[in-house]
Assembly symmetry: C2
Homo-oligomer: 234 residues x 2
Amino acid sequence: MTDTDSSPTLERKRGSGVKMVYDLLRDEILDLVLPPGSPIDEVQLAERFKMSRTPIREALVRLAGEGLIDTLPNRSTMVSSIDFLNMHTFFDALVLMYRVTTRLAAQHHRAEDLQIIRARQAEFAAAVQAQDALAMIATNAAFHSAIAEAGRNAYFIGLFNRLLDEGRRMLRLYYQSYGDQLPQRFVDEHEDMITVISARDVEAADQLAKVHAEQIVTQIKRLFTRDERLDIAL
Amino acid sequence: MTDTDSSPTLERKRGSGVKMVYDLLRDEILDLVLPPGSPIDEVQLAERFKMSRTPIREALVRLAGEGLIDTLPNRSTMVSSIDFLNMHTFFDALVLMYRVTTRLAAQHHRAEDLQIIRARQAEFAAAVQAQDALAMIATNAAFHSAIAEAGRNAYFIGLFNRLLDEGRRMLRLYYQSYGDQLPQRFVDEHEDMITVISARDVEAADQLAKVHAEQIVTQIKRLFTRDERLDIAL
DNA sequence: TGTATTTTATTTGTCGACAAGAAATCGACA
DNA sequence: TGTCGATTTCTTGTCGACAAATAAAATACA
């Protein structure tokens, strides 16, 4: 890992360094490649990416702003822990955002939005077909994120994406312990959601999102409550 | 401004510089001391606070993360504009957060929460009494923020505070043009909200928050739509 | 006089180095 | 052997300086 590696005199474009390390670190955190509590060493990252600590630091400040890492002043910085104690607040917010974004999508979507949503749904269906649990998590989040985008409310989009990120971490924690798969039922429900959205049936969209979200929540809750091993990760 | 000034060898505590400039810049932005579009010059701030550009930069990255400033790569950074075109999305989110946070406060509040809420309400009533429009804006936001805290959902608290900040900018824009005052009616409604929260009447809290929020929204809307001068600020 | 091109200037992005703060290590002493 | 204190080490926070990118200004040319 410390050899001269691939690029000898790598020339980076001026502003791209921070985005690169931000994106990669973010992915590694959300995929639990860096599990909660992992130490984040600036100088280690600096020599890993062959750049100064300054752009590394900027990326870390951004991640800290999103709550993905915690910074102990003058001491250390590490990947933030998953708050299982207040998980119910997460579920409350998640269900509400599911409903609101689906509602707004039914109201404000345009033709091109539906194309994107359908593409995401196809990817999700493929992941389910392939029994690829991690791909299911990612494509499911992308599907609902696309719906939120169609709703065109930046405030809701922001919070929802944040929640989906947090959920990605929690689900990943589960799916790497087991080898389970999400049921085919979700695929069908997604199809129904697309139907009512394109029909601009706001109330039906809301109701569908509600049962869909609560179903996911109860499933996740069941997984976590019957598995005490996860308590140690707190 | 460039003389030796007050403190000759001012010793700042190690991590306090960024917080100081962050807090102050944030206040100046929200109070429209720095109106939308104002250029933010790093070196100017650096010599103003007598520190290096590095901590300034960190504060700016944080502010950019909250959407309070916009950074043009390699060019300039300035105070972000108020998005009047999508104001309805702001109102949608604001009303919903009003409702949700008040609901949750009725459910989860503790005795000490009510003390804080009542204190904020007293400050708001005093501001109304004194006809201090700016103080009304601030204390009203603080009142509802305290209710949100009592609801104990970090996700909703985060979004709601963000919305209150944005609303603070918009209202400030209005109240510095005119000399109007919020009606006494809001004080009474606040009292009603405290009553139903302490009675843990969730549905009544929700309903009260709904009419309260929508009333505020319609009032703001009326102010902005009847005043075309504000279009130029976009 | 108007337009294209070079030059200058200003601002940001990055770097290497140093200092401060806190934890870990070591050592003195009971 | 255990505890307290000094020292070392390790990481972060800050600094001054340089380089790149862009905009503005100046110049050349038709």
